[in-house]
């Protein structure tokens, strides 16, 4: 099934099966944001540590489909060492990419580019977005 293979890339499955930075830190310096999607049952919490405007650590916990879980894992990996401004720029462009909206294609989204296939599956945009929306809220 060629269409679905564009969605379930190897990298995505690898992150789904071996999620990075999973589990929250019991540290008040981290900022936390929780999103629950009552229609699909996805539930995700993102936790971010920012020091001097730089993201030092990013964590996640929750449950949901492979796309939402893998996108959380990729997110927490690529955001470390970014400035808040860079992180927001990447997140906004990523969210536009998966929603099939205009985005800056010259920007390096690193491993998150594997989610470009999501735009062919409008029903799954929410799955790929939930962790990234929560992440943005941890930076507020």
């Amino acid at each position: 099934m060629a269409g679905l293979d564009n969605l379930y890339r190897e990298v995505i499955m690898e992150h789904y099966k071996n999620p990075r930075n999973k589990g929250l830190k019991d540290d008040e310096e981290y900022k936390l944001f929780h999103i629950k999607n009552p229609s699909c049952g996805d539930d995700i919490t993102i936790q971010t540590l920012v020091k001097d405007g730089i993201i030092k650590d990013c964590r996640h916990i929750g449950h949901g489909c492979s796309i939402s879980m893998a996108s959380a894992s990729v997110l927490t990996e690529i955001m470390v060492d970014k400035t808040v401004e860079e992180a927001l720029n990447i997140a906004n462009n990523y969210l536009n990419m998966v929603a099939n909206k205009e985005y800056d294609e010259t920007l390096d989204l690193e491993e998150a580019t594997v989610f470009s296939g999501v735009k062919q599956f409008p029903a799954r945009i929410k799955c790929a977005s939930i962790a990234w929306v929560a992440f943005k809220d941890t930076l507020k």
Partner: protein
């Protein structure tokens, strides 16, 4: 295998889609579509107001529809209220009857099988009034039984709000016995019939329910129209749910008076086209007959289960469902991953919590897939569905799920 003579009436099926999502909303036959179009193209008038021909005809059709619905339920016309849907019907009862009649310490019986629209309004009434929500303990299959119901029924029970057919499990609640027992305690019973009305013959007099709610769009009718049946004696003492045009008898600066019939609850311009279209949906169902419909769905359902039961890597949560609803998961595949496979094959099923999180919690799952069968489905479609399901299991297994 018999040829399905009903498919030709459903223009939505011309795109070769396999539609297994009737529990979310049914398809609509051409006669319903034609009636809705007739209202917009030829009438487009308001009711109870104008004196010109189209307004008179519209009013006549609107009130005749009430007669058709009343006969369908074996109710009186004065007991049939038009609403936006089941959700509004159930909210109306909670907001009007519930807020007027409940007080701290009173008990409301609900269950974990309820759709959110059946128990959230009562959860809210309980919060506001200090009444207590009691849950019927479900049996090992996830059913409401008369015995378990009796365990929570008490002299304090004032309202019983239960689903007639669960939208996830497809089980039929033993409603008649529950109603009789409730009345012995002088409790009123609100029946959520959203998933029942398209499968079971409902006779509100025989059932003796106090309120019963359903939607047009799950029974071949238009969206935006729901019905609330309420016993006349109860409706008479209830306050309006919404205030506005057409629901009043006399309006003054200080105090106004409300209509006495069901129109007391129909404020503003109602979804007239949908009311008219509902008549054709009821007629369509009556022309086939609910017994014939149930028989056909039952044969499809059994045919599907016989094949599904042989598949490994599949969990079916409601193998004894009576109404053509199959809720399931692919082993270790989240429902939203699995559903994409079916969507790619143009098979419409549903994934998620189905607005019934409590039963997902009860089952110990985050979400599930649901296929629901109706008259326009065929044995061949069941075969394709089963084959697709097998392919999906193999596909996700290969991916490493």
């Amino acid at each position: 295998m018999m040829k399905n003579q009903w498919i030709k009436d459903f223009p939505q099926l011309r795109n070769q889609m396999i539609y297994l999502d009737t529990a979310a909303t049914s398809l609509k036959p051409q006669s319903v579509i034609d009636k809705v179009n007739y209202y917009y193209q030829d009438l487009s008038s308001n009711i109870h107001r104008g004196m010109y021909d189209t307004a008179v005809e519209t009013t006549m059709l609107y009130e005749q529809a009430r007669e058709v619905v009343a006969k369908f339920l074996n109710a009186e016309e004065s007991e049939i209220i038009y609403t936006r849907g089941t959700t509004t019907s159930l909210n109306l009862v909670a907001a009007s009857y519930g807020m007027q009649n409940l007080k701290a310490g009173d008990e409301i019986i609900v269950s974990e099988l309820e759709h959110h629209s059946s128990f959230l309004p009562w959860q809210h009434v309980a919060e506001k009034t200090g009444a207590i929500l009691k849950y019927v303990e479900l049996n090992e299959e996830g059913r409401i039984t008369v015995e378990a119901f009796q365990d929570v029924l008490s002299d304090k029970t004032k309202v019983v709000a239960l689903t007639y057919v669960s939208n996830v499990m497809g089980y039929i609640t033993p409603m008649k016995d529950i109603i009789a027992l409730s009345h012995q305690k002088s409790a009123i019973v609100v029946v959520d019939a959203a998933q029942a009305v398209q499968h079971l013959t409902i006779d509100v007099k025989a059932l003796d329910c106090d309120f019963l709610a359903f939607s047009g769009h799950k029974m071949l009718g238009p969206t935006g129209i729901g019905i609330l049946f309420g016993k006349e004696a109860l409706l008479q003492n209830m306050e309006p749910f919404e205030f506005g045009g057409d629901m009043n008898d006399d309006v003054n600066k200080d105090i106004s008076e409300w209509k006495t019939g069901p129109q007391k609850f129909e404020a503003g311009t109602m979804p007239i086209a949908s009311v008219l279209g509902l008549v054709d949906a009821i007629e369509y169902i009556q022309n086939i007959g609910l017994i014939e419909i149930s028989k056909y769905i039952d044969s499809l359902h059994r045919y599907a289960l016989a094949q599904l039961n042989k598949i490994e890597g599949l969990t079916i949560y409601n193998p004894t469902s009576e109404t053509g609803i199959i809720s399931f998961n692919l082993e270790s595949v989240p429902s939203h991953d699995a559903i994409s496979y079916f969507a790619e094959k143009n098979i419409a099923i549903r994934a998620g919590q189905h607005c019934a999180k409590l039963i997902c919690d009860w089952l110990g799952i985050y979400s599930c897939l649901r296929a629901s069968l109706y008259i326009y489905n065929t044995f061949k479609e069941v075969d394709v569905f089963v084959e697709t399901l097998k392919e999906a299991i193999a596909y996700f297994k290969k991916l490493g799920f």
